[in-house]
């Protein structure tokens, strides 16, 4: 729960914890401690064989204990003060044990409530559709967002970033960043109004690469307290004054906080075991240092930028299961495929991740961040509709069934991942006047849906 009392406590720790060099944190403290808990709690994801959605509750529980132990032993690190922010086991468990099991965002008729889900839960996940930070040219920005907002299955939207503002280059932590934050608010709100969903909750301020755009664009007339505001945790388990500035503002304005942590496969956390431990610990730390409402960890592959490789997917699945079984935290899965609009692979990757998330107990789905979120304007609303349809069809599926479906899907795309099939840009897949998918993109979507039905997924 958010309040100034806890905020002060968090800020105090960033001032008073032991001083440690950042290189020491990155090079020794994090990897060494991860290795230690990995062997202590016997976390070996290789033991599940080829399974991508494992069904090993004991492993999930050990993973939770490992993540909790890591959070307790490591704490977080404040880069601005070079201090470790440490918490005792009880201090960690107290907020986790009272975290609310639901959170509502958005306004009036467009309000939506995200709920805690269990593994194999028949309840639907919350669908947060959008291009997740993908850069989009200014003139397409409104249309791209409208293509998402008009999809009825989307419960909330997640914004893209803007390539330029008023035709000018955007510079981080400058007046240009502030202008971009405002432009994001104006255009995404306009997109929602046009779609007839003026109160749809917006994932923002996506263009706030520093604190200034967040603070400005969520003041009067900009984003509302009931939009879902982003605060990042720097990998691995680090924060700084800029991020704590965002936090302080959001706590004092009573806004919905969504925080995220993107760990990298093969990075400081090591391989899939370390990554799974880091995901659990990451969600716990996000709760500890940001009092966040919804938690997301979006791991990526160091060379492909995606999260749809089997070695990353298995870590996400077990970590989500660990958090579903052992905590009250509301956790979201971000889908980051390599495929872009107009490709089948994007839909296969999205389907595999949506099914995995549904069966593993995730509460919300974010994305898809098509073409890994790095290729300008390579995003469109249709893939978010598809993500929602698959996610809802997969609700209630057993882990066993999910695993076999996910493996069949992964087999379809695995060999293409390193080809970076980025597909086509928004104007090449949507009619910019009717804002409908162009026939070739619609046909691919229909075709893949048909394939999924044949594979046994209960799609309408």
């Amino acid at each position: 729960m958010k309040q100034t009392t806890r905020l002060l406590d968090i800020l105090d720790r960033a001032e008073n914890g032991p001083i440690v060099e950042e290189s020491q944190w990155d090079m020794f403290l994090v990897p060494d401690e991860i290795e230690r808990v990995r062997s202590e709690f016997d976390i070996h994801l290789d033991d599940v064989g080829d399974s991508i959605v494992p069904q090993d509750d004991a492993l999930a529980d050990r993973l939770f204990d490992a993540g909790l132990a890591l959070a307790e032993r490591l704490g977080a690190y404040c880069v601005s003060t070079s201090r470790r922010m440490q918490f005792t086991r009880n201090e960690i468990l107290n907020p986790i044990n009272v975290a609310p099991l639901s959170i509502s965002f958005g306004e009036d008729l467009d309000q939506h409530t995200e709920h805690k889900r269990a593994i194999e839960d028949p309840a639907h996940m919350t669908i947060k559709g959008g291009g997740v930070g993908t850069p989009v040219p200014e003139d397409l920005y409104l249309l791209v967002h409208q293509s998402y907002a008009q999809e009825p299955l989307i419960d909330a939207m997640i914004n893209c970033t803007m390539e330029r503002v008023y035709g000018r280059e955007i510079r981080s932590r400058s007046p240009w960043e502030i202008l971009t934050g405002w432009h994001e608010a104006e255009l995404t709100k306009a997109a929602c109004k046009r779609a007839g969903r003026p109160g749809l909750a917006l994932g923002c301020v996506e263009n706030a690469v520093s604190d200034v755009a967040e603070l400005s664009a969520s003041s009067y007339g900009g984003f509302s307290r009931r939009d879902w505001h982003h605060v990042a945790m720097i990998s691995e388990f680090k924060t700084d004054y800029m991020l704590l500035n965002k936090l302080t503002h959001l706590v004092r304005t009573g806004s919905v906080i969504h925080s995220f942590y993107n760990t990298i496969y093969g990075g400081s956390v090591g391989g899939k075991d370390g990554m799974a431990i880091a995901i659990v610990c990451g969600c716990i730390m996000l709760q500890m240092i940001y009092m966040t409402n919804t938690h997301s960890v979006s791991p990526s592959h160091p060379f492909l930028d995606n999260d749809t490789c089997p070695e990353i997917m298995v870590a996400i699945s077990v970590a989500q299961q660990a958090l579903a079984r052992n905590s009250r935290l509301l956790t979201d899965v971000v889908i980051t495929p390599v495929g872009g609009p107009g490709t089948k692979i994007l839909l296969y990757e999205t389907a595999a991740m949506a099914i995995l998330a549904a069966a593993s107990g995730a509460c919300g789905l974010i994305g898809p961040r098509s073409a890994a979120g790095t290729v300008p304007a390579h995003v469109s609303g249709l893939e978010a509709r598809f993500m929602a349809e698959v996610a809802h069809a997969a609700a209630g599926m057993s882990r066993n069934d999910a695993d076999s479906l996910v493996r069949r899907l992964v087999a379809k795309y695995k060999d293409q991942l390193d080809k970076k099939p980025i597909g086509k840009s928004f104007p090449e897949v949507y009619d910019l006047v009717t804002l409908k998918p162009l026939p070739h993109w619609q046909a691919i979507y229909e075709e893949v849906k048909q394939e999924l039905k044949q594979m046994g997924l209960n799609l309408t």
């Binding site: 990155d26 090079m27 990897p31 850069p135 400081s268 090591g270």
Partner: protein, 222 residues
Amino acid sequence: MSISKDMKTEYQKQLHLAIQAGSADKGIELARNALDKGLVPVEFFEEIIQPVLEDLGDRFSRLEAFLPELMRGGMVVKAVQEKVLEPIIHEQSDEMASRGKIIIGTCQGDIHDIGKNMVALMLQVNGFSVVDLGTSVSSRDFIEAAKRENADIIAMSTLITPSMPFMKDVIARLDSLGLRDRFKIITGGAPVTREWANEIGADGFGEDAVEAVEACRQLMGV
């Protein structure tokens, strides 16, 4: 003086172990021992350090080794170079073993550093001497550091579009200071493309850490 193949393999194995243990002391002890046995610093670098690091880099590019090992590799080798090899090389005013000096950092406003760290380490394990300025480095600081360190290459990374203009600033600033010819510029990071790098007048570009090493090799002609 040359040593036997067996000895070489043994030293390489020991260095590999020192790296895995993250022990600079073990690395230093090993190098001292090898030099006592008559190996000269350049030989130790070329025949022991380089093959071990190249193997590490290869394993990392196949994701068979992970970043922590790469970090330790960089750290142990740096200690060996600074504490053992360089003092002797300077004494003998011999050729420096480094393939070139590189200033690297993430541009102003950007805190993404994982890719930059990987590039820095891969450059280091491939024989370049690297000074890492960290994240959110201003155009001015890039240039000041390059002058201070007498660098050959300035390597700039960014993952976010709003920090790309700061790369241009570095080049513009070098131009206005009349220093453009003194340093080579290389850029990279997800939103940076080869075309964009050309457009702003950079000398090199790398899609990933392996290409980054290749580009720096080309620029240095090594």
